[in-house]
Amino acid sequence: MKKIECLTPEQEVELPRFRQRYLDIACNGGRIDRPALEAALADAYAVIDKPAPHLLIFDSPASCMLALKVLKSTGPSGGQLRGQLWDQLGGQQIYDANYLWGSQDLFWIAWAKFAAQIGVTLTPQTAAHLDIMDRIGSQCEWWWPYNGIVVASQRPTTVRWDDQRRLHAETGPAIAYADGYEVWSWHGVAVPRDWIALRAIKPQDALQWPNMEQRRAACEILGWATILDALKAKTIDRDDNPEIGELVRVKIPDIGTEQFLRVRCGTGRGFALPVPPNMKTARQANAWTYGFDNPEDYQLEIRT
């Protein structure tokens, strides 16, 4: 087989459409077509010489996990139906990594399918297996395979991104499932629901949040100007290099005066790091964060 060095103009046009079709399957809120998923699962089980499994569908991965926990905990005495399920769930899991990703596997399935479409040769067996994974991933999200039973989650009803395809929504959940399970996310960083839904975070809490990625998100949600104004921040020193940053002093209610280094990182995002009260310059404070007592010892060649 000859190595494919570049795409034809037609393939260049087709690629983003192809990708979008799969993104839509995973993210546009489609529901499981039960007969289609049952058929695909039957084919998957046939590959390993197992009979077709019984399919239980729940609305989110969280509900699937709850259901599995409950079913496994009832034991054989939990009545005839639960007893039967317990026998099946208590048995060997077919896939030892617990669950498969379903529609979240479509990223590599689409990649392989597109390769096949432009002329990469797959063995008939690989092509057949890929096809089964495609059919499963086009119906459900995470799925748990057991002997005789599969627990599968519906795909999310909503998925929202920012322009860089980071999970992000400014007024609602970034991911929502039909049962109410949600993921709230700010430019790819998971944050508490109320920060976004209610803007319920105070400037002083934003600046003091323990996780610095979430702290940055909180500061962005509120807006830096808002925080610094609300806390009457005073600039102590500002370096010409934004990656060295700005040393600010703020009064935090019930805590007192604190100093922060407002700094831009190599990816262009702004962070705030608490620094000791005796820092006099942004450069000294920046050096301190990496453990240098003497800022002269801090001479970076590269910062990314």
Partner: protein, 113 residues
């Protein structure tokens, strides 16, 4: 790939060339083919891939660890598909790895990301 010879920072982790390993340095095994030089709570580690000529050490100070690089420069990769810190290479030598810290009333703590 840019090569660092004395000091370089990748997000919240910094690399500083030093003369020799501290006496309490203990060699660490790689995890699944990687040395995680900076572990991230949100799942975006900074790693150096395991290969002959690269050894990783810890010591008493939890904000410090060490790398010994022989042969070709060792790339430091940030494992995040977005807002990724650019990969750079560490030149052959002994390296101190420093985690960024932040101030607390009790002293300082590692800046968690």
């Amino acid at each position: 790939m840019k090569i660092v010879t004395t000091q370089g920072a990748q997000g919240d982790v910094m690399f500083r060339r030093i003369e020799a390993l501290p006496i309490d340095a203990k060699e660490q095994a790689a995890e699944k083919g990687e040395f995680i030089v900076a572990h991230s709570e949100t799942g975006h580690n900074h790693v150096v891939l395991e290969r002959p000529g690269v050894r990783y050490f810890s010591a008493m100070d939890e904000l410090r660890s060490y790398l010994v690089v022989d042969g070709d420069p060792a790339p430091v990769e940030h494992q995040r598909s977005f807002d990724t810190h650019e990969t750079f290479g560490l030149a052959p030598g002994v390296w101190e790895v420093r985690r960024q810290r932040e101030y607390t009333a009790e002293g300082f703590r590692r800046a968690a990301d």
